[in-house]
Symmetry: C2
């Protein structure tokens, strides 16, 4: 997805949010804003929003000297989600279609990210997720929830690359990976996190904390954007990406950075968190998206 002109005010808003998470002075915040302002003229609208995200969070880290502003929020998200793990598993065990429920949970878990960024009550959001009614798959051609196609692609895939999003959501990812592995034990799965701290996105340590390694090989993309910028990722990650016959891409950041890339078998799983992406997809903020990469449909 290209950067829309309306994304630009939001870039500044995100920087202020990250500075507020650290709790810095107005002087430091203005320094951050000035540096972002300085980088705007050279940033083309043809680039994707996470490419600017990389610049923004790097400026925040450099100006504040804080290498991982979201560290304690990430720890909190992990604990809050882990505390409910048993309840999520109850929901899965009671479900008539365990894989579908796991897919839904994995996408709904994306709300945690939104909560962290918007001071939502994460506990209340988790309760909402737990009380979602079971989805009926009626219309196979549903525009933004292509579950039948997802199952078909999943069954046919050998090498799966699962692109992680944020901490907390990792616990939901584990639940989905467990269901996939139960149904298809032969699948070879890689779980890719960011290479360096950015926003509340998961790192290798977070993936291990969520015990993802029981179901997938954990790798990192060698880069620090809040999305997947293929050309900037490590060679090892690029190889895994290109070799995968199914890429399960979690979160809006990965969608924004990969949705314009044609020729890759990407399934996007995320919750729509901003009006620009909602307009881009012709859907509503808060919608749950399970959508195959346009270029291959």
């Amino acid at each position: 997805m290209k950067t829309y002109i309306e994304c630009i005010p939001c870039f500044f808003r995100q920087a202020i949010e990250a500075a507020d998470v650290i709790g810095v002075s107005d002087k430091k915040k203005k320094e951050i804003i000035n540096q972002i302002a300085h980088s705007i003229p050279a940033f083309p609208l043809t680039a994707t929003p996470p490419e600017m995200g990389q610049i923004i969070y790097k400026i925040v880290r450099t100006v504040t000297g804080n290498k991982d502003p979201y560290l304690s929020l990430k720890q909190k998200s992990h604990e809050q989600t882990m505390n409910k793990y048993g309840l999520f598993m109850n929901k899965i065990n009671k479900s008539r279609n365990k894989l579908l429920t796991a897919v839904e949970l994995a996408i709904a878990g994306n709300i945690i990210d939104f909560g962290v960024k918007n001071s939502l009550n994460i506990q209340a959001e988790i309760e909402k997720i737990l009380h979602r009614e079971e989805r009926e798959i009626k219309n196979e051609n549903e525009k933004c929830f292509q579950y039948t196609l997802f199952i078909k692609k999943l069954a046919a895939a050998h090498k799966i690359l699962y692109l992680a999003d944020n901490v907390g959501e990792t616990v939901f990812d584990k639940i989905l990976l467990e269901q996939i592995k139960k149904k298809y034990p032969e699948k070879e799965i890689c779980y890719a996190v960011r290479g360096f701290p950015v926003l509340n996105d998961a790192l290798e340590t977070d993936a291990y904390n969520a015990e993802i390694n029981n179901y997938a090989r954990i790798i990192n993309n060698g880069y620090d954007a809040p999305g997947t910028i293929l050309k900037k990722s490590s060679i090892a990650f690029q190889k895994t990406f290109k070799a995968a016959d199914l890429i399960i891409s979690k979160g809006q950041g990965n969608f924004e950075s990969l949705s314009g890339k044609k020729g890759y078998p990407v399934f996007f799983l995320f919750m729509v968190k901003c009006p620009i992406v909602a307009k881009h997809l012709d859907c509503e903020v808060g919608n749950i998206i399970l959508k195959y990469n346009k270029g291959l449909k």
Copy 2:
């Protein structure tokens, strides 16, 4: 009021909004954004938001070559409000306290500005204003609606300067000026508009269109900020400002630019339109404010 760090994303949003009113290409919009980004580092947070507003709208006019982007919207606002003039006067005539009702209408009319900027249905907002219940003045110390103090200052004043805000609201100003003149025919009133087009703010021609000249002498401040920047205004305006023993300041832009100026007898009348100003005043967005300048209270 100083510029809060949270105002900065909004500066970019306002520029995009103005560009959208004209209907320019993304390339032009990016050029506008780049120029604003370029001016951010030199803009201190100690300056007031309308000082940045002046820069923003000047950039929009220069890049697009459109000298008055809001011209047709201003004409529409004027017509829509004039069409209801008879109904507003009915409301005044039926009121037990005509001056209070006129003050309330004049502040409530400030919603028109918000409507223009946020694509609200102006007609629906006018209907709401018409159906407001009559306010009971119970608590003389009310924090944000100091009507008793307003009446006291009004009665004592000889030279009144009325600072206009936007077009459409001018019709409500006329209604208030008429009531003031009826009660105090001897008062000498000046009605000051902006010197050049900025946003949907009223110019001399708009004041004459609303027949303000029946009740006040129309002047302009010689400048093009969406507020009152005293040091940048014409000498003639500065003289009138300093000679006034009551300044009735309409709209949030005039509040933002004058609320930090101590030593002037300013009464602010406006509707709170953004969360930053609401926080600054410890009130809610949408509240009606009638408040005396802190410095003199």
